[in-house]
Symmetry: C2
């Protein structure tokens, strides 16, 4: 198995993805919390390009970028696969993971840093992307089918962080009326032990969002 | 091998990546040029989420997003691998492919659609990202080592499209003085038969950029 270290931040959904994958696989690792306001020499040296968490260090070799790390974990430790085996199904999982990161996450983050018309546009775009995800989920229990797979791991942003962000900013984006299927998925998702154990405290996260975004409590 | 179709556009570096991988692997395919100003029902139905090229259709099943397609091709047809076998090397290749798409490509594109201070910032960012790539390449012949690998395929944007864009916009970003290592890589890259055969006519590409960006000839 070798020595596994994880440079992470408690509030980062990207860090939590990697932790979830390590836990699903039953891999022992050393968790090293990073202070992102005062980055450690270890973080700067392990991820000199982006200087961000998460970084997985396996036998002294660092890997950055959560999606890249998830692929590495699944290829290195074969028990409890998180990606589908079939190349086409695997391609679809990669497509949706990329969609969540590049479209959903981007559009939602735009809401937090824009105003007026631009903000309206970002809200509209976010709703459109969430509709696309709702259609993809259809009658599946999880994106991965009957059990949690890589797309569910990546969708933690939607399954937990988005609700905390909505509460912090007092906006309504992902509501039960608008997204009954995604809402049902969220209920199932946060009820799974492996997910539950791996989420930050909700109140602390809402407070952190308020502090970052300068939103009134 | 099955039936392979590629929905592509002659000027798209993303389409050309897929073609290059198919050619490296020696896979027969039907090339179907797409008119992006009047999207075909086949394109809209094959990539309903992004409505973009490239789309690879293998035995009737469509896959979108060039990086996702490259992974699929390498997993489905094993001859002449384009990704490294070793999981760590593979993770590094994925990291750099992602970096080229999300950082370099994004920053360069920002130059084309911004003005004044924002444009200056985008130029500075682009140069910074290219410096990072220059450092990564160091004394290697190709990003893939002695032969072309997936990062070289993805870096076609820098190896060919960027120079055409510079000519169209009359800007100087990637110069020999500023980037001796990347410039040497470009020379090697465009001299490879597999690359040469798979590039659009330079003049036609420059003219297309000028038309899209409304730049004077």
């Amino acid at each position: 198995m070798g020595e596994v270290k994880l440079l992470a931040s408690w509030s980062s959904p990207f860090s939590r993805r990697v932790e979830m994958a390590l836990k699903i696989k039953g891999i022992d690792y050393e968790y090293i919390e990073q202070d992102l306001s005062n980055k450690s020499p270890l973080l700067l040296q392990s991820n000199p390009v982006h200087k961000k968490v998460p970084v997985l260090i396996h036998n002294g070799k660092p890997i950055a970028e959560s999606l890249v790390i998830l692929e590495y974990i699944d290829e290195t430790w074969e028990t409890n696969p998180i990606f589908p085996k079939d190349p086409y199904e695997k391609a679809m999982a990669r497509f949706w993971a990329k969609f969540i990161d590049e479209q959903c996450n981007h559009a939602v983050w735009q809401i937090t840093c824009s105003k007026d018309k631009e903000k309206e546009k970002a809200v509209e775009e976010s709703i459109g992307h969430l509709k696309t995800l709702e259609n993809e989920l259809k009658d599946k229990k999880f994106f991965g089918g009957e059990t949690i797979g890589v797309v569910d791991i990546v969708a933690n942003i939607i399954g937990f962080w988005l609700e905390a962000l909505q509460e912090a900013l007092r906006i309504e984006l992902l509501t039960r009326e608008r997204f009954p299927i995604l809402s049902k998925w969220i209920d199932e998702y946060v009820s799974c032990n492996i997910v539950k154990e791996n989420l930050p405290p909700r109140d602390k996260l809402v407070a952190a969002f308020r502090a970052i975004l300068n939103a009134p409590a």
